[in-house]
C-alpha cells in the first residue's frame, strides 16, 4: 500500500505537463538564432520526461538543455555541431529522430520495404483477379433452395 503510494507519487512528479516550457528569459535576442534554437529543441528529448521534447517540457533539466543549445548557437556552432555536442554528452537517447546508422536502418527501411511488399502483393492479386474467368452462375444448395421456396411462397 505504502509502496504503491510512493510509486504513484513518483509517477505524478514525473508527469511533466505543467507550465509552459520556453521561458521569456531564455529567448535569444537574435530572431534567426532563436528560430534555429527552437527547431533544434523540437528534435531533442527531455531526458527525465516521457516522450517530450525539451521545447515542450518544463522540467529543469530540459531548461538546462535549452540554455545549452542556445549557448552553443551563440558561440557560432552549426546545427549539426550542436546536435553532435549534445549527443556526445547524453548519448543517442536524446535524439527524438533516431540516427539512420547500423541497426536503425531496420527502423527506417521497414516502412518503405513493407510498402514494396504490400504493393507487390496487391498488384499480383489484382492481376490475378483481372485474368480470372467470370465465375459460373452459382447454384443453390438444398437448404438454400428450400429457403428460397419459403420466401417465394410468402
Amino acid at each position: 500500500m505504502i509502496r504503491r503510494a510512493v510509486l504513484a507519487a513518483a509517477f505524478l512528479a514525473l508527469v511533466p505537463l505543467v507550465a509552459p516550457a520556453v521561458q521569456p528569459d531564455e529567448v535569444l535576442s537574435d530572431p534567426v538564432l532563436e528560430d534555429r534554437a527552437r527547431d533544434l529543441s523540437k528534435g531533442l528529448r527531455c531526458l527525465v520526461c516521457r516522450n517530450e521534447s525539451i521545447d515542450d517540457s518544463n522540467a529543469d533539466l530540459a531548461r538546462d538543455l535549452r540554455l545549452l543549445v542556445r549557448e552553443r548557437l551563440v558561440e557560432g556552432d552549426s546545427d549539426d555541431e550542436v546536435i553532435d555536442f549534445v549527443v556526445d554528452r547524453y548519448g543517442e537517447y536524446v535524439l527524438l529522430k533516431p540516427q539512420t546508422d547500423g541497426s536503425n536502418l531496420v527502423l527506417w527501411l521497414a516502412g518503405p520495404l513493407m510498402l514494396l511488399v504490400g504493393a507487390g502483393l496487391g498488384v499480383v492479386y489484382i492481376r490475378r483477379r483481372n485474368a480470372a474467368p467470370e465465375p459460373a452462375a452459382q447454384t443453390l444448395d438444398a437448404a438454400e433452395e428450400k429457403r428460397l421456396q419459403e420466401i417465394l411462397k410468402e
Partner: protein, 660 residues
C-alpha cells in the same frame, strides 16, 4: 455489502462466460439446436451480471465508500460528482471492468440483433466472443480485483490526478474502449467464419456495421483525447506520437482498412482472406494497445499504472488469441476463394491500394512504437523514437492516400476507365490548385508545407462533394437535385467521412505551418501585439476553486479597437494531489483560435505570458466529428435497418440486398 455483491456478480458472469464459450461451440459442431441457442440467454445474463458489478463499483465511488481500496486511491469526497463517476474508469482496475462490460455488451448486442445470422455462425460468434471475455474476467479476478477492501478505512480519499479532472478526458476512455472492444466482435466473426470454413457476401454485410461502429467510437475517442491535450497541456499540442496515442491509432488505421475491405467482400466477394486477416490483426492491435497502456512497458506521458504481473497476463491473452486465430487462418485461408473479377482500374483496385497504404502506415507506427524496446533488447542501444520520426515516416502514406482517394472513390466497380474518372474530378484539382496558389501568395513566410497540405485537403473535400454529385446521374439540375435527396445514406456517409478527412488535413497543415507564437514578460496593464491582434494583461488574481487554488489572469484580445475576446487563463494547484496544472484559455473561432497561457510571476513584478494564434485549429476536430457522422450515416443506411427488421420477422438466412 454492495461491493461484495458486485464481486460475486463478476464471478458469476465469468462462469456464465465459460459456459457460453463451450456449449454453443459444441452445439454448432454437432448441429444441436438447443446447445447453439443457449448462447443468446447466456450472452444476456453475462451482460447484466457484469453491468450489475460495474454499477456496484460506480455506487461505491458515488457514495465515496472509503473502505474500498480503489475508491481511496482514486477519489475524494470533495470531488465534483462527474469526476467521482469518471473516477471509476480513471484507474487500472475500474478501466478493465469497463472493458469487460463493453465486451459483454457487444456480445449481447450480437445476440439480440443477430437474428438474421445462420444459427451455427451466430453460436460460434458468441462462443468466440465469450472466450475473449473469459480471459479478461480471469485477468480482473486474478490480478486486478477492483473490490478489495481496506483493513482500516481512511477518513478521505487520495484524489484523482487533477489533469484527468476534465470533461474531455472523462469520456475519452469509454469511447476508446467502445472502439477497441467493438473490434473484438469483428474478430469473433472472423474466427467463427474460419471455423465454419465459409466467407461470403453475407458475412461481409454482417461484419461491416460492427466494424463501422467500432471505428466511429475510436474516431470519437481519439478526437476527444487529442482535443483534451490541445487545451489542457498548455501549449496547444494535439498529437504527440506518444506510445499510448499510437496504441489507439493503430487499431483505428486497421479498422479503417477493414471497413473498406469488408465492402469489397460484401459487394464483390473478393479480398475475403485478407479481410479475415485484417479483422484478426485489428483486434490484435487493440490487445497490443491494452498491453502497452496497462503494462507500462513503454512508459509514456499517459502511463499511470505499471505492474509487470499484469503485463505478462495481457501478453498471454494477446499470444493465445491472435496466435490461435492466425494459426487457424493459416490452416483455413485457402478455403476462402475469391469470386469477383475486376480490372486493373476499378473501385476494387483502388480499395486494395487503400488497404495497402493503411496497413503499411499502421506497420510503420507499430515499428516506431516498439523500436526503442527492440533496439535496447536486441542491439543494446538506448534510443528514442519521437514525433520527428513519425512525421517523416508516416506522413507520406497519408499524402499518397489523399491523392488517390477522390479518384478511387469515384471509380465504378469491376472495370473502369481512368480518364473518365479523372475527368470527373478535374474541378476538384483546379480548386485545390487555385487555393494553394492563393495561400502561397498570401502567406508571409514562404513555406511549401501549408499550400501543399491545403491543396491535398481541398482536393479530398471537393472530391467527396463531386463523388456525391456524380451519384445523381445525368440530366438537368432539377432532376439531379431530386436524386440527391434520395441517395442512400451510405452514399452520404461515405462522402461526409471523406469530407471530414479532408477538413482534418486542412486544419493540420494550416496549424502546423501558420501558427504564431509569442513568449514574453508582461506587466499588468500592458498591451502587446501578436499577429493581427493586440493582447492586454488586465489583472492577475488569486482565486479559490472547489478543490484547488488558482492564479487567474484576466486578459483581453483586441483587433484594432474592437474587443475580440476576454479570456481568463489560470494556473491551478490541487492541494490534495499536490500538483500544479496550467489551464489555458482559448477563444475558439472558425478561422483561428486565440490561445492564452499564464506562466510564473517574474522578479520584476511581471508575468510570463504565452500567446498563440492557431489558424484553423478547430478544423482538426471538426473533421474528426464529420468522419464520425459519416460513419453513423452509413450505419443508419436502409439495408442495415431492413436487416434489423428481417431479424424481427424471423427470416433465417435472408440477406439484405444492397441498394447498389
Amino acid at each position: 455489502m454492495i461491493a461484495e455483491l458486485g464481486h460475486f456478480a463478476l464471478i458469476l458472469a465469468a462462469m456464465v462466460a465459460v459456459v457460453q464459450a463451450i456449449v454453443p461451440m459444441i452445439g454448432a459442431h454437432k448441429g444441436w439446436d438447443g446447445w447453439m441457442a443457449a448462447a443468446v440467454p447466456a450472452a444476456t445474463t453475462q451482460f447484466f451480471l457484469t453491468a450489475f458489478s460495474f454499477s456496484a463499483l460506480t455506487y461505491s465511488f458515488v457514495v465515496s465508500d472509503f473502505s474500498l481500496r480503489l475508491v481511496v486511491e482514486n477519489s475524494h469526497s470533495l470531488k465534483p460528482m462527474l469526476y467521482k463517476v469518471s473516477g471509476v474508469w480513471g484507474n487500472h482496475e475500474g478501466s478493465m471492468l469497463l472493458w469487460v462490460l463493453i465486451l459483454t455488451l457487444f456480445g449481447a448486442c450480437a445476440a439480440w440483433f443477430g437474428g438474421n445470422l445462420p444459427p451455427s455462425l451466430k453460436a460460434r460468434v458468441l462462443a468466440v466472443q465469450s472466450s475473449v471475455a473469459v480471459a479478461f474476467f480471469a485477468f480482473i479476478l486474478l490480478t486486478s480485483n477492483p473490490f478489495l477492501r481496506m483493513g482500516i478505512p481512511p477518513m478521505d480519499g487520495q484524489d484523482l490526478n487533477p489533469l484527468l479532472q476534465d470533461p474531455g478526458l472523462a469520456f475519452h476512455p469509454p469511447f476508446l474502449y467502445l472502439g477497441y472492444v467493438g473490434l473484438s466482435l469483428t474478430f469473433s466473426f472472423a474466427v467463427a467464419a474460419l471455423i465454419e470454413g465459409r466467407v461470403d457476401a453475407a458475412w461481409g454485410g454482417w461484419v461491416r456495421p460492427w466494424t463501422l461502429a467500432a471505428w466511429v467510437f475510436l474516431t470519437i475517442g481519439i478526437a476527444l483525447g487529442s482535443w483534451w491535450a490541445y487545451y489542457e497541456l498548455g501549449w496547444g499540442g494535439y498529437w504527440f506520437w506518444d506510445p499510448v496515442e499510437n496504441a489507439s491509432f493503430m487499431p483505428w488505421l486497421l479498422a479503417a482498412a477493414l471497413l473498406h475491405s469488408a465492402i469489397v467482400v460484401e459487394k464483390r466477394e473478393s479480398l475475403k482472406s485478407w479481410t479475415i486477416l485484417l479483422a484478426i490483426l485489428a483486434f490484435g492491435f487493440s490487445l497490443i494497445g491494452t498491453f502497452i497502456v496497462r503494462s507500462g512497458v513503454i512508459t509514456s506521458v499517459h502511463a499511470f499504472a505499471n505492474d509487470p504481473e499484469r503485463g505478462v497476463f495481457i501478453l498471454m491473452i494477446l499470444a493465445v488469441f491472435t496466435g490461435g486465430a492466425l494459426t487457424l487462418f493459416a490452416a483455413r485461408a485457402s478455403a476462402m476463394q475469391a469470386k469477383g473479377v475486376f480490372g486493373l482500374v476499378s473501385r476494387e483496385s483502388a480499395l486494395v491500394a487503400n488497404n495497402v497504404l493503411l496497413a503499411v502506415s499502421c506497420f510503420v507506427v507499430f515499428i516506431g512504437t516498439i523500436w526503442p524496446l527492440v533496439a535496447e533488447l536486441a542491439f543494446g542501444r538506448k534510443l528514442s523514437v519521437g514525433a520527428p520520426f513519425f512525421d517523416a515516416a508516416f506522413t507520406p502514406f497519408m499524402v499518397v492516400l489523399a491523392i488517390i482517394l477522390p479518384i478511387g472513390a469515384i471509380l465504378p466497380w469491376k472495370r473502369a476507365k481512368l480518364n473518365r474518372a479523372v475527368k470527373q474530378v478535374v474541378p476538384a484539382a483546379i480548386l485545390a490548385f487555385l487555393i494553394a496558389a492563393l495561400a502561397w501568395t498570401l502567406q508571409t513566410e514562404k513555406t511549401i508545407l501549408a499550400p501543399v497540405g491545403l491543396a491535398l485537403g481541398i482536393w479530398v473535400v471537393a472530391g467527396s462533394a463531386l463523388d456525391l454529385w456524380s451519384r445523381c446521374g445525368r440530366g438537368d439540375m432539377a432532376s439531379r437535385l431530386r436524386r440527391l435527396t434520395r441517395l442512400p445514406r451510405a452514399d452520404y456517409g461515405k462522402a461526409v467521412a471523406h469530407f471530414g478527412l479532408g477538413v482534418t488535413m486542412i486544419g493540420i497543415s494550416a496549424m502546423n505551418a501558420w501558427q504564431i507564437e509569442d513568449i514574453r514578460v508582461a506587466q499588468v496593464g500592458e498591451r502587446f501585439e501578436v499577429g493581427a491582434y493586440e493582447i492586454e494583461l488586465a489583472s492577475v488574481d488569486q482565486v479559490q476553486g472547489p478543490n484547488y487554488y488558482s492564479t487567474m489572469a484576466r486578459m483581453n484580445a483586441y483587433r484594432g479597437d474592437r474587443l475580440v475576446a476576454a479570456l481568463t487563463p489560470e494556473k491551478r494547484v490541487y492541494p490534495v494531489a499536490k500538483m500544479p496544472t496550467t489551464e489555458a484559455d482559448i477563444d475558439n473561432g472558425f478561422l483561428r483560435d486565440i490561445y492564452l497561457v499564464i506562466g510564473d510571476a517574474q522578479d520584476d513584478g511581471g508575468w510570463a505570458v504565452r500567446t498563440y494564434i492557431k489558424p484553423l485549429a478547430n478544423w482538426i476536430w471538426a473533421g474528426a466529428i464529420l468522419m464520425g457522422v459519416g460513419g453513423l450515416l452509413s450505419l443508419s443506411d436502409r439495408r442495415y435497418r431492413i436487416a434489423a427488421g428481417a431479424a424481427k420477422a424471423g427470416g433465417g438466412g435472408a440477406r439484405p440486398v444492397a441498394a447498389e
